[in-house]
Amino acid sequence: MMTMRLWMMLGALAVAVPTLPAEVRTNKNRGRGSMWWGIAKAGEPNNLLPMPATSLHMDPTVYATLRRKQRRLARDNPGVLMAVARGANMAIAECQHQFRNRRWNCSTKNFLRGKNLFGKIVDRGCRETAFIYAITSAAVTHSIARACSEGSIQSCSCDYSHQSRGPTGVRDWEWGGCSDNIGYGFRFSREFVDTGERGRNLREKMNLHNNEAGRTHVSAEMRQECKCHGMSGSCTVKTCWMRLPSFRSIGDNLKDRFDGASRVMVSNSDRARGVSNAISSNSASNSVHAQREGLSRRHRYNFQLKPYNPEHKPPGVKDLVYLEPSPPFCEKNPKLGILGTHGRQCNDTSIGVDGCDLMCCGRGYKTQEIIVVERCNCTFHWCCEVKCQLCKSRKTIHTCL
C-alpha cells in the first residue's frame, strides 16, 4: 500500500512539476490574453481613426484585433461586431465596478495596436485573469443575446416552432417567445471568444473553463417568472415570461466566484463533464454561421480540472479557476503590468480592502481637500429634458503615497 501511494505521488509530481513552468515558458504566446478585447476601444477617436460607429465592420484597425476565424464570424453574421464591442465595454465597466475598491482595480491600458487591453496581468494565470476571461465571455454572451432580441443581428432568428399547446389536461407552461437568443449568444460566444484557446495546455484549459463559466452564469440567470391571475388571488390563469438578467447581477455572481475561486492543476484523465452544458447540445438548430472545427471541438470542453489541494472539491462549471497565486499589487511592477496602489484613493474609515491601511499597503496616505464640481438640483422639464446646475463642494480625499 505504502509503495503504491508513493509511486502515485511521484507520478503526480512528475506530471505536475515539469508541466507548470515548462508549458508557460515554451508556448509563450498561447492563451495569454485575447486581442479582441481591444475592440472595446475601437470607437475612441484618440486611439483609432475617427470612424462612425456604424461602419465598425469596415474598420481595419478593428480587424487588426481579430483573429482570422473571428473576422470570418463577423463577416458571416452582420451586426455581431457592434454587439461584441458593446459587450467588451460592458465587461470593462463591470470589472472596474466590481474591483473599484481593491488593490487591483481592473485598469486597462491605452489601446495601442498589438497590445493587450488589460495589460500583462493576463500573462499570469491568477485569479484576476480568471475574472477577466469570465466577465468578457459573459458580456459577449449577454450582449449578443440582447442584440438578437433587438433584431440587430440577422442570423439569429427566433424559433417559434415549439409553440404548440394542448388544450386539455394539466398544462405545463411552455415558453413561446424568443428564448433561443440566449442559446445563440452562448454558441456565438464559444465560437468567437474561445478562438485560439485549444485546450492543449493548462493555461488554455483554464481560459476555456473560465470563459465557459462566464457564459454559464448568463444562461443560468435567464429566468422564468410567473404570475397567477384569478378571482381574488387564486391561480386560475398562470402566465409566464422570461427575463434576461441584468449584467450587474452577473458581475456580482462572478465576483462571488472570484472570491471563492479554486486553484487547479491538470488531471491525467480527461473525463467528460456530463450534463453540465445542456445548452451546448442543441447547437444543431439555429447555428452560428461558422465552420466546425471537426473532432477537436467535441473534446474541447470535456476536461476536468483537478483541485490543487486534493482535499478540495473539483471546480464546478460555474466556478472560476486559476493556476498560480496573484502577485502583490502594492508596488508598481511593469513586468507584470501592475500599476501599484500609489495615488489611489482610499477610505480612511473602512477596515476593508478599500480602507487606507490595506489599500496603501502600509505606506501611509495623504489627505487633501479638493473642490468638486457636480451636477445638482436637477429638475425635470416636460418633456423630456433634465436641467441641472453645477455645484461646487469641498470634499476630503485620501490618496495613497
Binding site: 388544450p167 389536461g169 410567473c226 391571475h229 391561480c235 386560475t236 495615488g343
Partner: protein, 460 residues
C-alpha cells in the same frame, strides 16, 4: 496561428511606465445602469403573456358564444337551451378546472337535493351548510396547488347555490331541473364568474335580437383587460425594480395585484357580454374609483360589484337584523374570507379591511355631521346633499376628502403587497409570508388604523 505576432510586442513596454495609463483614465467607462429595453420588454414579457392568455381564452370564448347563439335561435326550445348552456359549462369546467370537475358535478346534484328539503331545514344559516362542507372538504383533502387553482370556480358555484336557496327559502316551489343545472354550470360564468342572479340567467333565453355593436364593446373590454394584464405582469416590474424604496415596492406589488384583478374582471365582462348577458350588468369593477378612492368603503364596493351585491343581499342585510351594524360587517367579511377558502392571508386582509372600513365609516360619519360637510365615506348625491358645506362651496371639504383618499391609497398598498409573484402564489400564500411582508413595513397600516380609531373614540 493567425495574428500570432501581435502577442510578441508586449515586451517593448518592459520598464517603460508610459505604456500604462494613469489610474484616473480608467474611470472613463461610465456604467449605465441597464434597463430592459422596450423591445426586450415586448419580446420577453408582453408578447408571450398576451399570446399565452389569448390561446388560453379561446375555448371559453367559443363556449360563451355558443350559449349566445343558442339563445338567439328561435327554434331551440326552453329545455334545450338550458341543456346547451350546461353542456358548454361541462366542457369549460373539464377544460379549465379538471381538478374539481367531478366534485362540482356532485355539489350541483347535492345542492339540488337540498332544495327539496322541507322549508324549515333550509332556512336561515342552514343554507350555508352544503357550501361550507364543500369548501372545508376542498381545504382539507385537496392538494394546495389544485385548490388554489380552482378556488374561484368553486366560489362562483357556491355563491350561485346559496343565492338560489335563499331566494327559494320562502316558497315550496321547486325550480326546474334544467334551469337549475343550466344556471349552476353555465359556461359563460363558470370560470371567471361573476356571480349572476338566477333571474338574470333565465332572462338570457328571452333575449332574441342580435345587437352587433356589442361585439365592439366585447373587443374593447378584452383590450382593456389584456392591457391590465400587461401592466400587472410586465410594466410594474419594468418601471420599478426590486431595489427601490420598500414602500414604492409595496405600492408596485399592490398595484400589480389590483391590475391583475382588473384583468380578470374585464375578461370576465367580455365573456359575459359575448354570452348574451345585458350590457347593464357587464361592468364588474371600477378601476378609477379603486385607484383614486374616496374612501375604503368605495374600494370595497367597486372592487367586485356582483360579489358586493351578493354579500349585501345574502349576508349583510340578514345579519344586520340579528347582530347589529358592526357584527354584520364582521360577519360579511368572515363570509367573504370563507368563500375565498380558509387562507390566512386572505382572511387577514379581508378582516383588516373590515375593521378599517368600519373605523373609517364611523369617523367620517361623525365628522360629516359635526361639521355639516360632505366628508362622509359615501359621496353625497349631487342634487340633494343634506350637508351645508360641499365640494363646490368649501375648499377644505376637498382637502379633507383628499387626505382620506391618500390614507386609503396607503392602506391599499399595505394590504395588497402580499399578493406578489413569490413561490407560494400557486399554493396559496402562507401565514409566514403574510407576517413577514407586514413586519417589513412595521405593521404601519395597522398602527395608523388604530390611531384613527383612537381619534374617533376621543372625538366621540
Amino acid at each position: 496561428m493567425d495574428l500570432m505576432p501581435m502577442y510578441d510586442d508586449d515586451s517593448e513596454c518592459a520598464g517603460d511606465q508610459q505604456c500604462f495609463s494613469t489610474n484616473m483614465d480608467d474611470y472613463d467607462y461610465e456604467y449605465v445602469q441597464e434597463q430592459e429595453s422596450l423591445v426586450e420588454l415586448y419580446q420577453y414579457c408582453i408578447s408571450p403573456t398576451l399570446n399565452d392568455t389569448l390561446w388560453y381564452l379561446i375555448p371559453l370564448t367559443i363556449a360563451s358564444f355558443t350559449c349566445n347563439v343558442a339563445a338567439r335561435i328561435n327554434y331551440i326550445p326552453h329545455k334545450m337551451f338550458h341543456s346547451i348552456t350546461a353542456s358548454t359549462g361541462i366542457y369549460v369546467l373539464y377544460n379549465y378546472a379538471y381538478e374539481c370537475f367531478f366534485l362540482l358535478l356532485f355539489y350541483v346534484i347535492l345542492s339540488y337535493l337540498f332544495l327539496h328539503l322541507p322549508k324549515k331545514h333550509r332556512q336561515g344559516t342552514k343554507v350555508f351548510l352544503p357550501s361550507i362542507f364543500l369548501i372545508l372538504y376542498c381545504e382539507v383533502f385537496m392538494h394546495a396547488k389544485d385548490w388554489n387553482k380552482i378556488r374561484g370556480v368553486v366560489m362562483i358555484a357556491v355563491m350561485k347555490a346559496i343565492s338560489l336557496t335563499v331566494d327559494m327559502s320562502d316558497t315550496d316551489k321547486i325550480v326546474n331541473v334544467h334551469e337549475y343545472i343550466g344556471y349552476m354550470l353555465c359556461g359563460i360564468t363558470a370560470i371567471f364568474g361573476p356571480w349572476t342572479s338566477f333571474e338574470t340567467y333565465t332572462n338570457l333565453y328571452n333575449e332574441k335580437k342580435w345587437k352587433l355593436w356589442w361585439f365592439f364593446v366585447v373587443i374593447s373590454y378584452a383590450i382593456v383587460g389584456l392591457f391590465c394584464l400587461s401592466i400587472s405582469n410586465c410594466w410594474t416590474n419594468w418601471i420599478l425594480s426590486d431595489n427601490a424604496a420598500k414602500w414604492m415596492v409595496a405600492f408596485r406589488d399592490a398595484f400589480g395585484f389590483r391590475t391583475s384583478h382588473y384583468f380578470v374582471c374585464f375578461i370576465s365582462s367580455a365573456i359575459m357580454l359575448l354570452g348574451g348577458y345585458p350590457l347593464t350588468q357587464s361592468l364588474l369593477t371600477k378601476p378609477l374609483e379603486i385607484e383614486v378612492p374616496r374612501s375604503l368603503v368605495q374600494v370595497v364596493v367597486s372592487w367586485n360589484m356582483p360579489m358586493h351585491n351578493w354579500l349585501k343581499t345574502y349576508v349583510f342585510r340578514p345579519g344586520r337584523k340579528q347582530l347589529g351594524r358592526f357584527g354584520a360587517i364582521i360577519l360579511t367579511y368572515l363570509a367573504s374570507s370563507l368563500l375565498h377558502g380558509l387562507n390566512f392571508q386572505l382572511a387577514a386582509v379581508l378582516l383588516s379591511l373590515g375593521f378599517y372600513t368600519y373605523i373609517e365609516y364611523q369617523l367620517r360619519q361623525l365628522l360629516a355631521t359635526e361639521f355639516n360637510a360632505c366628508i362622509g365615506s359615501k359621496q353625497c348625491s349631487a342634487y340633494k346633499c343634506e350637508h351645508l358645506r360641499t365640494t363646490y362651496n368649501c375648499y377644505w371639504v376637498v382637502l379633507v376628502n383628499g387626505a382620506f383618499s391618500i390614507l386609503a391609497i396607503f392602506h391599499l398598498a399595505y394590504l395588497g403587497l402580499m399578493f406578489d409573484a413569490s413561490e407560494t402564489q400557486e399554493t396559496g400564500y402562507s401565514y409566514q409570508h403574510t407576517i413577514n411582508k407586514w413586519s417589513e413595513l412595521n405593521f404601519a397600516s395597522h398602527w395608523v388604523a388604530c390611531t384613527t380609531y383612537l381619534a374617533y373614540y376621543l372625538i366621540r
